[in-house]
Amino acid sequence: MLATTVALAAEAADLVIAMPNWPSGQATANILKLSIAKKFGLDAEVRELGTINAFVGLDKGEVDIQPEVWRPNFEDLIKKYVTDKGAVVLSGRAVPAWQGLCATPEAVAAGLKTIADLSDPAKTAVLDTDGDGRGEVWIGAPTWLSTGIERVRANSYGYAANVTLVETEEEVAMAAVDAAVATARPMVFYCYAPHHVFELHKLTRIEEPVHDPAKWKIVPADDPLWITKSSAATAWGTAHFHIAYAAAFGKKHPDIAKFLEQVDFSPEEVTAMSYAVEVERQTPPDYAKEWVDGNAARIDGWAKP
């Protein structure tokens, strides 16, 4: 019975939008669904899919749109399906993303403003949470690729010598930020944007030398010794994410392809999506309906022939 219903729904839809498992991707998938229905009269099915499966679907003609493709994270998929096969098109516009270290207001007040400050044991002592006199810095969840790179950066910059690098789940780290802010305690931690934590708390990014590819030598993580073999003593390079759509869909619906090329969410809007879904616990379809109702002129502009 369930299978029949799903099959009917899939048949009834004019197009399929992949939906990733993070909040801004979920909101965007639903905003695109409602905007396309409003401006082009087509009915889209929003289907939960990871990025790899979404690309396979885009290639096979089973998926038409993927709302957030992160670069450089999925560069391999982009090379295969966009550059080599020509089966998928990346929208020319992208939302800039960022990652690095953040400080709570009390950490800034304690003199922790630049990456060089982190190498000063007298300054980082205020970050001590376990009474051993050394500060702690959360560098990410144990499963993230970025966590290993943060360890490389701490070694390369030198502050690994005077702070304890902590790896634990993101929820634990975010709750620690909440508790630190609630009691006016200093904290420095890995962070990335767009992210709802910037809506919850007043945070300052730790200043670093700009990204320099010549000083960023990351050995592939399939080498067990990659962390000790790597070095990275500059800021991360800028990341981006794009909307992607199937080339065949673009040919069949050039007007919608043009519309997708015009969608220009700002990082602030993406943060607001993340906040609404993750903190305010709005469902992505409800949030999308409110967004589409409140941004009619914007959507008209994207759809202008």
Partner: protein
Amino acid sequence: MRKIGLIALAAGLCLGPLAALAATQIYDARTKKWVDYDKRKARQYFARNKQVPEAFRRQVVPFRTAEPPGTIIIDGNQHFLYLVQPGGQAIRYGIGVGREGFGWAGIVRIGRTAEWPTWTPPPEMVARDPNAAKWAAGMPGGPDNPLGARALYLYEGENDTIYRIHGTVEPWTIGLDVSSGCIRMNNDDIIDLHSRVKIGAKVIVLMQGAALYKGV
């Protein structure tokens, strides 16, 4: 979280004698300053005021978080337990924690709860302490039972971590690091918390005891 089992074994059962007391500090919300707080001060304060310092009393505080209401957040370093409430607030309780903190950080849940729980002393305590030996088979719940009025049992998945949030018969120890790994609260507070939590509630233990993660 995979570390819990190991650390629990290393630490033994978490309710030991209140022997050694490490120095700690308390946060004064009015002056926004941290002041030294130790066993002597704690006893003096309690004798004089019949309650713990204001910072450790149950109170509603502003608390902005992405965690849903009903989540418990334990900050062993600052000796606070937060129960997240709607509207950017939390109920904050003072807690006593182990000398070495909890020894781990991570996410667990309330697996079960008990009113006036039975206390079973760990075997090594039975061996060295005749008073504890008396209760080797389990001390029934009551006003002298060291687990106090209520216990919340922390589970990881379906498994009891052997860590508990429980009451105490020694209320002046709230705010101190004593030689046990559990989270203790005044009986009034644990009764209040027990009345508000649901089985399955998420419990986030913050990173205090981060030294555990050295060299990971």
